[in-house]
C-alpha cells in the first residue's frame, strides 16, 4: 500500500480487525442451517400473515415518510432518477 495515504487508524486496530473478521464464518453458520422444510412453511405463513396485515393496514394508513425513504433506498433508486422526477414534477 502506498505511503501517500494521509490517514491513520486507532492503535492495534488491524490486529483487532483480523480477530473480528475471523468470527464471520462461525456467526454465519449459526444462522444458515435452517431445515428447508421449516423455512418453506415459515415463508408461506409469513406471506399469508403479511398479506392479511398489509391488506388491513394499508387500507386505512398511508406509508410513513421513513418507510418511503427506506423503500427508495433499497430499491436501488439513484440520485439522477430522483432529480429527474423532481424536475419533471
Amino acid at each position: 500500500m502506498s505511503n501517500k495515504i494521509p490517514y491513520s487508524t486507532p492503535s492495534g486496530y488491524f490486529d483487532n480487525l483480523q480477530s473480528r473478521l475471523s468470527t464471520i464464518p462461525a456467526r454465519r453458520s449459526r444462522i444458515n442451517p435452517v431445515p428447508y422444510l421449516a423455512l418453506a412453511v415459515s415463508f408461506t405463513l409469513l406471506v399469508l400473515i403479511g398479506n392479511y396485515i398489509l391488506t388491513k393496514s394499508t387500507a386505512s394508513q398511508p406509508a410513513s415518510d421513513e418507510a418511503i425513504i427506506e423503500y427508495l433506498i433499497d430499491s436501488g433508486t439513484t440520485l439522477a432518477q430522483l432529480e429527474e422526477v423532481v424536475y419533471n414534477y
Partner: protein, 168 residues
C-alpha cells in the same frame, strides 16, 4: 467447510488491511470504512463457495469491495437527498476534525478535492493514485474499458488541480 474457513481466514490475514485502505480512501471516515469492511467480508464468505478462480483473488476481492462501497455511497446520497440533508456527505466529513487524519494543510486540501469528485472518478483516482494499480487492473475490477478509465483519471486530475487553485 473447514477448508473454506481456513481459506477465508487466510484472505482476512492477507487482504483485510489493504482492503481497509481501499475502502477508506473512498469513504474518508474510519468508522464508515470499518463498518463497510465487515459487510464486505460477510459478502466474501457468502460468495466464497462459488469463487472458481476465473479471476485472480485480488481482482475478485477488490470488485466486491468496490461494488459494496459504491452502493454504500449511493445509498448515503439518496438518503441525504430524501431527508433534505447535505448531499455532499464526504466533503462535509472532511471539514470535520478527524482524529485519524495525519496530513498537513496541503494534504487536507487534497483530501477535500478528492472528496468533492463524483464517486466513480474518486474510485479511479484512488485506485491509481493511492493504490498505484495500473489501468488494466482497474479495468478488471471496475469492468470499464482502459480508454474510459484514462479519460476519467484525466478529468479527475484536472478537477483536483482546479479545486486546489481555487482554494489556494
Amino acid at each position: 467447510m473447514q477448508e473454506l474457513e481456513t481459506y477465508f481466514n487466510e484472505l482476512v490475514r492477507q487482504y483485510s488491511e489493504p482492503l481497509y485502505w481501499h475502502v477508506r480512501t473512498m469513504v474518508g471516515s474510519h468508522e464508515d470504512a470499518d463498518d463497510l469492511l465487515q459487510d464486505i467480508f460477510v459478502k466474501v464468505w457468502s460468495a466464497l463457495p462459488r469463487f472458481r478462480g476465473d479471476s485472480d483473488v485480488f481482482t475478485w476481492l477488490w470488485r466486491i469491495a468496490t461494488n459494496e462501497t459504491l452502493s454504500h455511497l449511493r445509498k448515503a446520497r439518496v438518503r441525504a437527498a430524501l431527508r433534505f440533508a447535505h448531499i455532499d456527505t464526504e466533503a462535509e466529513k472532511v471539514s470535520d476534525p478527524d482524529p485519524y487524519f495525519d496530513g498537513n494543510a496541503a494534504l487536507r486540501s487534497l483530501r477535500k478535492a478528492i472528496a468533492a469528485l463524483p464517486d466513480k472518478q474518486r474510485l479511479v483516482f484512488s485506485l491509481r493514485y493511492y493504490q498505484e494499480l495500473n489501468y488494466e487492473q482497474i479495468s478488471e475490477i471496475t469492468g470499464t474499458s482502459v480508454g474510459a478509465l484514462k479519460a476519467s483519471y484525466h478529468i479527475a486530475f484536472e478537477k483536483i488541480k482546479q479545486f486546489l487553485t481555487d482554494n489556494d
